[in-house]
Symmetry: C2
Subunit: 373 residues, 2 copies
């Protein structure tokens, strides 16, 4: 009897690098999405941070990036190790089921039995070893047939994240911390978030999914058969000269739907979704309050300053300044302030209003100010 290869040897990371990150306008733009920024002060972009975190798991030849055609050059500049074979370009955004599903279909066709993990290009994670331990467990659970999510033990009643309600421990070899998932819940209000945290049954949804590619495709097909058919047609043509023609025909007609709705929620409802609680620090840096928090390192009244060559003079001020202009920025007596200074747009708000930035972007779209989006 031949021993099966280590599940991690069958593992492939997928990085969907698509979202602009509207709540980080005017830093994030259509042509400079969130994943191309250094929001942590690490000295490199979030995309590069993501790559560096994933490469040790299965090697840099086993990381696929799904991104828009417009971002190809920027992505390749960030990731010189990225193999051509592993670049999947979207002609237009079709949401996460199409993006992750296409990667799954291509990889399953190339390598039946592959286990894939989907990791956002623009999250912040600290604790590489803990991250790896969590993913190893997740891969084991995926190998056992589960669709696997990663949950983060809440450190505060955050209202900017979705939550995962856990059910019972699962007995999965190699995944001692796996639990079944009761349900996914959307971003709560503060009182609800406090109740979640107090209960001990809720984890932050880190937006990572690990599964056997065939299982993932099966679930997509159960929810959206036409979408699956399109993905399989694309995958059949992908490594052939027909790719361009089939993409042009099929991709624009794929249903735009988040993988949360096609896979995560229905599978959780059937009790077949597992979650591995991650012990590492995680943040989706969804808004400027998030960035300020990361930089304050728990210290209140601090002013975080980002941006090369930033010139900031602050008196009795706290919050975050991002300077991309080299201008002198003077702050006097403004607390929890958010000042984002770019060559063609300036945002002034407060941490408490950071979630409303998306509404401004929507208003700018409506008013025809697309030059600054």
């Amino acid at each position: 009897m031949t021993q099966a290869p280590d599940p991690l040897e069958r593992f492939y990371s997928v990085i969907p690098a698509g979202g602009i990150g509207s709540r980080l306008w005017p830093l994030s733009r259509a042509d400079a999405p969130k994943f191309l920024h250094d929001l942590t002060g690490s000295g490199q972009t979030l995309l590069r941070d993501t790559w560096d975190r994933l490469a040790p798991l299965a090697g840099d030849q086993r990381i696929m990036v799904v991104t828009g055609r417009a971002h190809r050059a920027a992505v390749e500049a960030q990731l010189p190790e990225l193999a051509d074979l592993n670049v999947v370009l979207e002609s237009e955004p079709r949401e996460s089921t199409a993006a992750i599903g296409l990667a799954a279909a291509i990889l399953e066709k190339r390598e039946p039995g592959v286990i894939i993990g989907s990791f956002a290009a623009d999250h912040v994670i600290k604790g590489a070893i803990l991250f790896r331990q969590t993913i190893v467990e997740a891969v084991a659970a995926a190998d056992a047939g589960y669709i696997v999510a990663i949950g983060i033990r809440p450190t505060e009643p955050a209202i900017g994240f979705g939550y995962i309600k856990t059910a019972t421990p699962l007995e999965i070899p190699g995944a001692p911390n796996a639990q079944s998932v009761d349900s996914f819940v959307e971003k709560p209000d503060l009182a609800t978030a406090e109740a979640y945290v107090a209960s001990g049954h809720y984890l932050w949804n880190a937006g990572m999914f690990i599964a056997r590619a065939d299982r993932l495709l099966e679930e997509i097909g159960a929810a959206e058969p036409e979408l699956l058919a399109g993905l399989l047609e694309l995958a059949d043509a992908w490594d052939t000269p027909r790719r361009g023609a089939v993409v042009d025909k099929v991709w624009p007609r794929l249903k735009k739907i988040a993988i949360d709705y096609t896979v995560a929620e229905p599978v959780a409802a059937r009790g077949q979704l597992a979650v591995i609680p991650g012990q590492f620090d995680w943040d989706d840096v969804g808004d400027f309050a998030s960035i300020a928090k990361i930089h304050a390192n728990g210290r209140k009244r601090d002013l975080a300053i980002l941006g090369e060559g930033a010139r900031v003079l602050a008196d009795s001020s706290s919050g975050i300044v991002v300077s991309h202009t080299g201008r002198m920025i003077a702050l006097i007596g403004v607390e929890d302030i958010v000042v984002i200074d770019t060559p063609d747009a300036l945002l002034v708000t407060t941490s408490a209003n950071a979630q409303k930035v998306k509404a401004v972007v929507d208003a700018l779209k409506l008013s025809g100010s697309s030059d600054v989006l």
Copy 2:
């Protein structure tokens, strides 16, 4: 017996256009002082507003401007009617006694018995007819030998202005509202300002002085004999080919001292200073809170937007935005905010902190950031 000419026919306006207006940084700069800005939305600079207010009093041939050499071109561009004869250029700033005293000495030499009024180039006044009535009274009181100040009936316990404490009504023909002055007091704290306003005996010091030139020079000489000697030496040479040489020799050595200390306070202490209460609206627009107040027109929760081509998108925000860059400025949930956006410097503060802007300018000087001053 020949009737003496109407005192107003002997009147000459003097506009010292010198101060940068540090509390309005980064709008006001060494090379773009406060008087060269439109802070009221009138469509013209404060200097031009000042000219237009004074020209009806004695004609545009009887307005003298004292300004720095560096501002000559800008001043003349603003005031095409300004006669060459009426431009007094300072080689370097020597404070208000020297500036106003030199104007007085030159004018007295040219036209003995002249009555002069000194009016800041960068204040905001509404109510041209009331202003004229006040100045007519002031000129009558000056003709009677008084040094005359203009006071404004306080509409609120302002802490940004100096106050004039009145004493008793004076019986001056042509100046029925003249009162003697008990004393000048510096900017008070709020409690003191409230007591001042409640007492009914205090007026805001509008920083305008009207006097016979010979009386003014006499008072300068009583306080600072050397300074007066220098001014007379300058005036003797002024309309001669010796002007340049004498200016180079004398001007840099003149004592730097405000006219408040050489004239206003000592004369008030002797009970020889008159004040005319002005009924017009006045503001020295000393800081951004002042500008915001002027634009809010008494309405709270308003956002004043200044600057040609300003693009501002505001949500739940109030205060003032001055935009000199054409950038899109988005404000979300910031109240009583002050955002001053210029090509090389950005200020973010609140109305309550507006007086602290000068401290930032001082800090920038100390830190060697003179490029933005």
